[in-house]
């Protein structure tokens, strides 16, 4: 029976059918559901790791021990895991190892638009790229076979439109790969200079063998495939772009679809291009395939006609190649923008309002609370990458100690564990007078509620040990630690003012679970008493999506309000009632 699966769910199914035994990942949109779904199969041991580096090392350890393994991450997560990746390419595997990296062209939920294919090229690690859910499933299974055959980890590259699109899949049975025997082999697995030199030779030989595979066997296996139609236009493409091209051009073009994007074939591309009048390379982000073609003297049209930024689409391809456009309707109203916002009842709101009242510089981080940068709160000055809030605050305070009393870092519980903790150690070790605020909402929020080492629950919801943030701070040498409730504006404001005034590193834990968590009980929605409302708009300063102004008075949307009472603390006229 065919099932409609999300690309990510199909990858998880591929892991199951491919005999995966160990899966370790850190959540990151658009990759998260692969591991969430893998955890629903009892045959796969699954876990959330503290970060992508730990996840990849866990997967490699399992592979060397003899179990088929997996780790998944978003594109920026691969930066964190790049260290083990480059050396895993040298050690190779014992049992198969599959790495999923999900790129986000168009930045639906990311801080940059990097193209992970460069990692495959740079680390010389085989990379497959599926174009729908059926291929997500099939390629994941293929990846295990290829991993073991070529003694290499295999990366499966997804993009948002593949990871987060549902399409039909035929489900199969699990292949039980068992656990392969482990044999000690320091020439292969101990990467110090003498052995690594030997392994580099093996890696270069492997790339040649894989290239030969990409020219021939990959075509037989329909991983790289040619579809002949009209030869006036030839399209070389992979992943979602192949689907856009098919939609836009149909039988008006012939296609070379590359399911393996590292290593790329040479002769296959050359012979395809030779038969077509005009050849386009259709690829989102960088000119990766295009550069390969040019290097080998194959004439193609690529980025000069398209773009390095954002997503491609059937419309873009149709416009550039065929010069046609569809007619559109217009509506005669001004449409205000609707950016994402902190939810009604979000515990981050009260803390940000307290920061706004004090007027500090805020070193921000990656998570829902990044939205604190938006108006009317507007209380974040910098956002760089996971964990950077803490380390960058330290740098700021070292640049000029005068900043110390006027700057804080904000970071979520999961992000703190991911890579904020090392920054906190640096603050304690190198003694900067820094105030770090952990926004502890007891969950990994933005990616859709994943457990993490502070929550006391595993990926399957089973109880486990929980990191005590208080004790951890104390242990690394931060002795001023306090906990506040972000629903209590005065408590937050007082605590931040006090810690800014003290000449010592300090940690404030703003603790209150995410309002969207099922276990969180909501109060009845609040109401505005229009007779008491003086239209002062104080309640509007917290940027709650449940509060708006109608007919000159504040009003609260009962479908959104969770009765958090933060707005009530701002109203000087007691107009907001429970």
């Amino acid at each position: 029976m065919k099932k409609l699966l999300l690309g990510n769910e199909a990858v998880a199914r591929g892991l199951f059918e491919g005999g995966c035994r160990v899966a370790s990942s850190y959540p990151g949109t658009p990759s998260t559901e692969v591991t969430e779904c893998a955890a629903t199969y009892d045959d796969i041991y699954s876990e959330w790791a503290p970060n992508e580096k730990v996840a990849m090392e866990t997967a490699l350890g399992a592979s060397i021990a003899g179990a088929r393994s997996f780790c998944g991450m978003k594109h920026v997560g691969l930066n964190v895991a790049a260290d083990p990746l480059f050396t895993a390419s040298y050690t190779g595997v014992n049992a198969g190892m599959v790495i999923v990296v999900a790129d986000d062209p168009g930045m639906h939920s990311s801080q940059n638009e990097q193209d992970s294919r460069h990692y495959a090229l740079a680390s010389k690690t085989m990379m497959l790229e599926p174009a729908d859910s059926a291929e997500c499933l099939a390629f994941t299974k293929q990846a295990y076979a290829l991993s073991e055959r070529f003694d290499t980890p295999v990366i499966l590259r997804l993009t948002t439109r593949i990871a987060h699109s549902r399409s039909l899949c035929e489900l199969g049975e699990r292949e039980d790969a068992g656990v392969l025997p482990y044999e000690k082999n320091i020439a292969k697995n101990v990467m110090m200079p003498a052995m690594a030199k030997g392994r580099h030779v093996v890696v270069e030989e492997r790339v040649l063998k894989q290239t030969a595979w990409a020219e021939s066997e990959a075509v037989d296996a329909e991983i790289n495939k040619i579809e002949w139609h009209d030869k006036k236009i030839g399209v070389i493409s992979a992943g979602a772009c192949y689907q856009y091209a098919k939609e836009a051009l149909g039988d008006k073009a012939s296609y070379l679809k590359l399911g393996c994007v590292y290593p790329l074939p040479v002769e296959l591309i050359r012979s395809f291009a030779a038969e077509c009048e005009t050849v386009y390379v259709l690829e989102e982000l960088d000119d990766y395939i295009e550069t390969h073609c040019r290097k080998h003297g194959i004439r193609v049209i690529g980025k000069e006609a398209f773009t390095l930024q954002g997503e491609y689409s059937q419309t873009l391809i149709e416009k550039v190649i065929l010069g046609t456009q569809k007619p559109v309707l217009t509506v005669d109203v001004h449409v205000p923008g609707r950016p994402p916002v902190l939810c009604a009842g979000c515990p981050h709101r009260g803390l940000f309002y307290a920061l706004k009242k004090i007027g500090v510089t805020v070193s921000g981080d990656i998570g829902c609370y990044t939205l604190g940068a938006m108006q009317p709160l507007g209380m974040i000055d910098t956002v760089i990458c996971m964990g950077a809030s803490v380390s960058a605050l330290h740098g700021r305070n070292k640049a000029d100690p005068a900043f110390s009393g006027k700057s804080v870092a904000v970071i979520g519980d999961s992000t703190f564990i991911h890579s904020g903790v090392t920054g906190l150690i640096n603050i304690a070790y190198n003694q900067s007078n820094s105030v770090v605020i952990i926004l502890d909402n007891s969950i990994t929020g933005m990616t859709g509620h994943q457990q993490n080492p502070t929550t006391g629950l595993t990926i399957k919801g089973d109880p486990t040990s929980a990191v005590s943030l208080e004790k951890l701070a104390e242990a690394v040498g931060v002795h001023r630690v306090r906990v506040v409730d972000p629903y209590d504006l005065k408590e937050c404001e007082d605590a931040i003012r006090e810690e800014l005034a003290v000449d010592a590193p300090s940690l404030i834990i703003s603790r209150r679970p995410c309002a969207l968590l099922k276990k969180v009980k909501h109060n009845p929605p609040l109401k505005v008493n229009p007779d008491k409302c003086r239209s002062c708009r104080m309640c509007m300063r917290i940027g709650c999506p449940a509060i708006s102004f109608k007919d000159g008075k504040a009003t609260i949307d009962f479908t959104q309000c969770v009765g958090c009472n933060v707005c009530r603390q701002l109203c000087k006229f007691d107009a907001i009632e429970g």
């Binding site: 939920s109 729908d132 569809k326 990044t370 509007m540 999506p545």
Partner: protein, 192 residues
């Protein structure tokens, strides 16, 4: 059959993903090739959200572009206006008359426009406007807005009612099923 395109748009948190899941399940059981494209992550936090649903004999692209949708289902007035250009010039729009102020309006930087429904009608699209929130409350929960709207959409397709009800049974948690079946019925029988 040529590929047909349906877009579901709304505000993050309104339950558009569940609506697309019900629609996807119904289309699969009718034997179509189906692609449903969603956006997860940051934009879900109260932002403008969109789901693309495409079905036919063989579907290539998972996304819908301007001028391509046969049907646009909007959970909110302003979102209907935002995404109207994605409709074919002879396409149909179902719009929930509920309004949700975006933060740009709440913060005072912008104004929620008047007369959105009239402007939508004047665009040339076939417009069905419905107060789905009231019907959802009538069914038992404001959260059932999505299922009321799926009911309205369902009545405009060639897919039999029983298929929709089965899709609903597959998708909705059992303890909310009765309320959702009621919400679907209110949408299905809506004449507007």
């Amino acid at each position: 059959m040529n590929t047909k395109s349906i877009m579901i748009v709304g505000v993050g948190g309104q339950g558009t993903l569940l609506a697309s899941r019900i629609l996807g399940a119904a289309l699969v059981s009718e034997g179509y090739d189906v692609k449903v494209s969603e956006v997860h992550g940051m934009s879900q936090r109260g932002g403008s959200v969109v789901t693309y649903v495409r079905y036919g004999d063989s579907v290539a692209s998972p996304i819908i572009e301007k001028g391509e949708a046969d049907l646009l289902l909007s959970f909110e007035q302003l979102e209907a206006a935002r995404w109207l250009a994605y409709l074919k010039t002879d396409g149909n729009l179902i719009v929930n008359t509920q309004t949700i102020d975006p933060m740009t309006v709440i913060s005072g930087a912008d104004v929620y426009p008047d007369g959105v429904i009239d402007a939508l009608r004047a665009s040339g699209a076939g417009v069905t406007a419905i107060d789905a929130l009231s019907l959802a409350v009538q069914a038992g929960s404001a959260k059932a807005v999505n299922v009321v709207l799926i009911g309205v959409l369902a009545a405009k397709t060639e897919i039999p009612k029983e298929t929709w009800l089965n899709a609903l049974r597959e998708t909705v948690p059992p303890k909310f099923l009765e309320m959702n079946l009621k919400a679907f019925e209110l949408g299905w029988s809506y004449k507007g």
